[in-house]
Amino acid sequence: MTENMLEVTGLGHVYRAKEQTHTAFGDISFAVDRGEIVCIVGPSGCGKSTLLRCLSGLLRPTSGTVSLHGTEVTEVPDELAMVFQDYSRSLFPWRTVAGNIEFPLRGRELSKAQRRERVEEALSWVGLSGAATKYPWQLSGGMQQRVAIARALAYRPMLMLMDEPFASVDAQTRAELEDLVLQVRAEHEMTVLLVTHDVDESVYLGDRVLVLSKSPASVVETLSVDLPAPRDQIGTRGAEEFVRLRTEVAQRIRNTAPTS
C-alpha cells in the first residue's frame, strides 16, 4: 500500500516578464502514496495553483522534477485527471452533461457501448443519473462541479488533481462535495491531491496536510491527520484532535505570513 506514486523533488518555478522576475515557489519536495488524499494548503497568492499546474504537466517548472510512477512528467500524463476551480469555464457549454463526461474518453480505445457505460457509472457515483441529457448551464453550481468530478472519475485516472475545487460553491454544497470526495476515495481507491486555502477543509479531507509558506512558497510543515474514518461533517469537525490540528495548521500559516 505504501508505494510512492508521485514524487516531487526540488521543484521551483520563476515567472519572467521582461525585466521583472517573480518566484512562485522555490524548492518544494514531497511524495504522495497510492490511495492517499493529500491536501496542500497555504495563504492566498502563494503559488498553489502554479504548483498544481507544474505537477499536472500543464506548465514546465523552471527547476526540479516531478515523476509519476518513476517516469518524469514533461507533458500531461495519461493517468491523470484534473478538476478545476472554475467549473463554468471548465465544462463545455455546447455539450450535454453526458457529452462533457464522454468527451475525453473519445481519445481512448473504448467502444461506444463502453463509453456510455462509463458515463452512466460516473454519473451514478456523483448522484446525477437523471441529469445526463441536461446542459451544464441548466444545473446549479454544485451540480456542475459534480459533473466535472464525474468527468474526472470516468477517465479512470490513477491520480486526481483538484485545484480549489470547492472555492466557488456555497457552504452547504461545499460540505456535500467534500463528502463526495471522501466517498469516491473509499469506494474506488483513488489517489487525490487537492489544493485549498481553507484550513478546515484541508484537515477534514486530508490523510496528510502540506502547509506552504507565503510566496515564494516552500513546504513548512507536513502533518499527518489521524482522524478515524468514516469522517463526518459534524462528528469529525467537533473532535478534539480535529480542533488541535486545524489550530496547528492555522498557526503555521500565520507564522509564515510576515516573513517576506
Binding site: F92, Y135, W137
Partner: protein, 263 residues
Amino acid sequence: MKIFAQRWLVFLGCLVVWQFAAASGANPYFPPPLRILRAAGDLWFSGPAWHLWLTSSVGDDILPSLARLLIGWAVAAVIGVLAGIALGRSAVATDYVAPLLSFARAVPPPLLVPVFLVVFGIGPQMEVATIVLGVVWPILLNTIDGARSVDAVKVETARAFRITRSRWILGVVLPSALPKVFAGLRVSLALSLILMVVSELVGSTSGIGFQLVNAQQATFDYPAMWAWIALISVLGYVLNGLFLAVERRVLGWHHGYTGQAGR
C-alpha cells in the same frame, strides 16, 4: 395575439393610405400597391397550370439569382471558416496577413466588378466571384476573432485530458468560435443579397437585378419595377428569418449559457 394584430393592422393601414394617395395623385413612379400586386401576379404567377401557374421568369430569373447568391455565400463561408480557424490559432500567421485583411475588408466590393467582368466575362462566374470576394471578409475576421479567444480554462481542460488534435479543433475551437462565426455569416448573407443585385445590375442578361433595371430603363414599367423591389425585400426577410431559425437551433446552448452567466 394583440401585439400581432397591432403590428399587422398598422402595416395594412399604411398600405391602404398609400393605395388611396397613389390612386388620387397618379404619380407614375409610385403606383398604388394593388397595381404592384397585379404586376407581380402577371410576372410570376400567370403561368400554365402544368407549371404550377409559375411563369418562366421564376425559373429564368429568380431561381438562378438565388442559386448564385447561395453558392457565393456558401463558398465564402467554407473559405472563411477554414482559413479563420487556422489563422485564429496562430498569432504568428495572423501577423503576416493582418494588414492585407484590414485592407481587403475596406475595399467596396462593387469596385472590383470591372476586373471580374474582364476576367470571367458576363455571366454567373462573375457574379459568384464578386459575391465570394465581397462577403468572405466578415466571416474570416469573425472566425479569427472567435478562434483566437478560446477560454483559457477550456484550453487547459483539453490539455489535461489529452484531447487529440482533431477533436480539439472540432470539439473545442470550432464550438467556441461558433457564436462569432454566426454573427459573421449573418452580416455576409445580407451583403450577398446586395452584391447579387449589384452584379446583376451591371453585368448580366438575366436575374432579379437585371429585370429590375430592365423594367426601369427599357420598358418603363414602374409597377413591375416595384414588384421586383418588393421581391428583393421579401427575399432578404425570408433569408434572414431562415438563418435566425438555424442559428437558434445550432447556438441554443450559447443563449442558455450566456443567459445564465448574465443573470
